[in-house]
Amino acid sequence: MKRLFLDFSLLVALLASCAPVDLNAAIPTFETGVDSNAWAQIPAGEFYFGQHEDIETTEAYEIMITDVTAAQYADFLNAALADNYVKTDGGQIVGFYPGDKFHAVKHEEEIKAGDWIYIPLNDSSQKIKFDGTTFTVQKGFKNHPMTMVSWFGAQGYCEYFNSRLPTEMEWEKAGRGTDERPFPWGAEIMRENANFYSSRDPFEDMSTFGSRTSPVGFYNGQKYGDFQTEDSASPYGLYDMAGNVWQWTGDVYEGMHYRFMRGGSKDTYDMDLRLWVRNNATPTYFSPGVGFRCVRDK
């Protein structure tokens, strides 16, 4: 009897592992009150960079307070399609990229000039919908960060609006300020600070679909239903610089095609939310856990 019970339990666990995931499960909607069109001013000067706190310097620049939202990206695609800045190519949106200098280093792949993927259209995780003429956003995700966007798609968005992706240094300075903190809000991390793996936010259900993105600026000290957040802005007032989605940065390094991401995401443990932690992927990579924000020179 005991053995039968054990076998049955294992079978149930196995079958549960194969259960389909409802990617369109209802998502709670909250207004955070944080303006996704706002930019923060970052002054020129020194700051602590990296885990080992090297002292580096940047010029002054402006950076978006939040990640680019799905609604902002849909608006961009509508405008860019009309301007022939992007085009459809099969099941994806593509745009031109002038290519990178190729150094033929081991494992390096050549990024040639040409049309490269911005976003996939037919992927079930894509929150941007296209009816052949207009791009819209799936209900409930308008104020969520734009995800399922490649590095080219992120870079193309920023360039279209006369801005660019932040360098890794700019990104880290904007998140860290001028002290040695590991997280944008300070020294320690709690579940009320950020959206990370199994952080028990209102958007996740670890028994079914797992983690999902939260609206930009969600962790601003407000209470949403029963969920009380901590105000987790960076010293310069940026939100979501730790968790929610990884953010593409703009550096193109000699000898490698990989592009770097910062900030950790809804899918990573808290250790990856430390401000100096780096991730990288091929620039055509897109994911439900990767987004971006832009900077512009002053």
Binding site: K106, S125, W246, V290
Partner: protein
């Protein structure tokens, strides 16, 4: 007082006592520190443990903490392997006592003061003692090399069934010697950059810099060090298991030269990583790994044949089923080589698969996914070595009958469930899209937690049994006082 003295003499003066202490130390560290990450962290257990034990966890120091944690556990494993070697192989009594004493003090200092420094505030005296402990282990390694010197006629083989040179030098002993020498040299590849980086507090984990196209010599040295040390621990445990099972005959004569060649070439390749020969070093590593792994395969073939032969000796024409039954009748003898075979599905096979699919996998997956695969496969490899030690330790405990069956099969099945699940977890991106992986992750986590959790329960039961035994006046510990593993080698 005599009571305490007797127990102390057993725990720190006998081979089995020393192994028991080291296993207990590893068990405690694994149980406590295992609660600081993964599902335990998700459930909030991590915070409770930190508060309860008064740990001082600083976010910026995670990498340094982990480096010390890995070393603490690894040094105890190296100590266990050393105890086995000094008890299995002939050597002068002075060397045996000196090596065991020095390495015991070394790994205990390393573990207690290293973990004390890493997790309980930064007392720099602790760090100094931690380094001193590591240095003692290094010195014990040097002594072991001297003790193992294989060209002393005293140690020449008398039974021609064992691999030997024309003059009679024992090639198995040469293999032990080569592994010990290369281990001591390879330790330097960690010690030198360790001092360099430690001096500036710039610790890093190798898996976090793996994709950078340009690495410094010191970074290459660290990457080479961690790979080769684990590989050498594996080579050494293979040799130990071979000795315990009394590996001999024609396959032994083929395997031992291969093991010597493989170990030396493998090390040359890894050392070459920090030289201008780096571009070809990987090819040398592959060339070295192949004969070593083939030698392990020969041990497997020989031991399985022996188990089948002995288990069917009473049957004139054994059927296939009877042969399988004979193979599986003793999990403690079958288990170690089975785990070596299983390792190919969870470690080396994965590495080869990933290398073949490089364009579809690592060049596409984000670095954090590659990190999961990298850390996953060497955790599994380390844990496989641990299960092999536990299987051998079960035999040392004299388990018989149903206890032997339950103990042995539980370790094999539970660990393989966990390791298999870890392997699928590493590769999950190949089977399911990222957005749809949570149910699979949940199922795999259940399997991993169940397998590893139950393994820890078995280990805890074993340790409690041995603790209770220590309170008995005529417990098993009395019998084990003068047990030497050489006398328990298979006939």
């Amino acid at each position: 007082m005599q009571l305490v003295k007797d127990r102390f003499n057993y725990l720190f003066g006998s081979t089995k006592g020393l192994i028991l202490v080291a296993i207990a130390m590893i068990g405690i560290v694994t149980a406590v520190w295992g609660m600081l990450s993964g599902p335990m962290a998700e459930m909030g257990v991590r915070e409770v443990v930190i508060k309860l034990l008064g740990m001082k966890i600083v976010q910026a120091e995670r990498e340094g903490r982990i480096v010390i944690l890995y070393h603490s556990i690894a040094m105890a494993i190296i100590a266990i392997e050393t105890y086995m070697i000094t008890s299995l192989l002939k050597m002068k009594p002075f060397f045996k006592i000196a090596i065991n004493a020095i390495i015991t003090v070394g790994y205990i200092l390393t573990m207690i003061f290293g973990m004390g420094f890493a997790y309980f505030g930064h007392n720099w005296a602790f760090h100094g003692i931690y380094i001193f402990g590591l240095s003692l282990i290094f010195f014990a390694g040097v002594l072991l090399i001297i003790a193992l010197w294989p060209w002393n006629p005293e140690y020449y083989v008398t039974d021609k069934e064992y691999a030997h040179t024309n003059k009679g030098a024992d090639l198995e002993r040469v293999a032990f010697f080569a592994t010990a020498v290369t281990t001591v040299i390879s330790a330097l590849f960690g010690a030198v950059p360790g001092s360099y980086f430690g001096n500036g507090f710039e610790t890093f984990l190798a898996e976090n810099i793996i994709r950078l196209p340009e690495k410094t010599t010191m970074e290459y040295s660290i990457i080479g060090h961690l790979h080769i040390m684990l590989a050498l621990i594996c080579v050494m445990i293979t040799l130990i298991i071979g000795r315990w099972l009394n590996f001999k005959g024609i396959l032994h004569k083929v395997a031992m030269p291969l093991m010597i060649l493989g170990t030396i070439v493998l090390n040359l390749g890894v050392w070459g990583v920090v030289t201008p020969l780096e571009p070809v070093a990987h090819m040398v590593i592959y060339v070295g790994a192949t004969p070593s792994m083939f030698a392990a395969l020969l041990l497997l073939i020989w031991s399985w044949s022996k188990l089948i032969r002995e288990g069917t000796a009473h049957i004139q024409k054994p059927s296939f089923g009877q042969k399988i039954g004979a193979l599986l009748r003793d999990p403690l003898k079958f288990g170690p080589t089975w785990q070596m075979l299983f390792m190919n599905f969870t470690t080396s096979g994965i590495g080869i698969f990933m290398a073949i699919k490089l364009d579809e996998v690592f060049r596409v997956w984000p670095a954090r996914e590659e990190r999961i695969e990298l850390t996953g496969h060497w955790h599994v490899l380390s844990a496989i070595v641990a299960t092999i030690i536990l299987l051998y330790f079960g035999d040392m405990n004299g388990f018989r009958g149903k206890l032997r069956q339950w103990y042995g099969w539980s370790i094999i099945i539970l660990s393989d469930i966990a390791f298999g699940a870890v392997t699928v977890f590493e590769m999950k991106r190949l089977f399911v899209p990222e957005a749809e992986q949570q149910p699979l992750v949940n199922g795999l986590m259940y399997a991993i937690d169940f397998g590893l959790g139950m393994l820890m329960v078995i280990l805890a039961a074993l340790l409690v049994y041995r603790l209770i035994d220590l309170f008995k006046n005529k417990g098993r510990w009395i019998e084990e006082l003068d047990h030497e593993l050489a006398r328990e080698v298979d006939k």
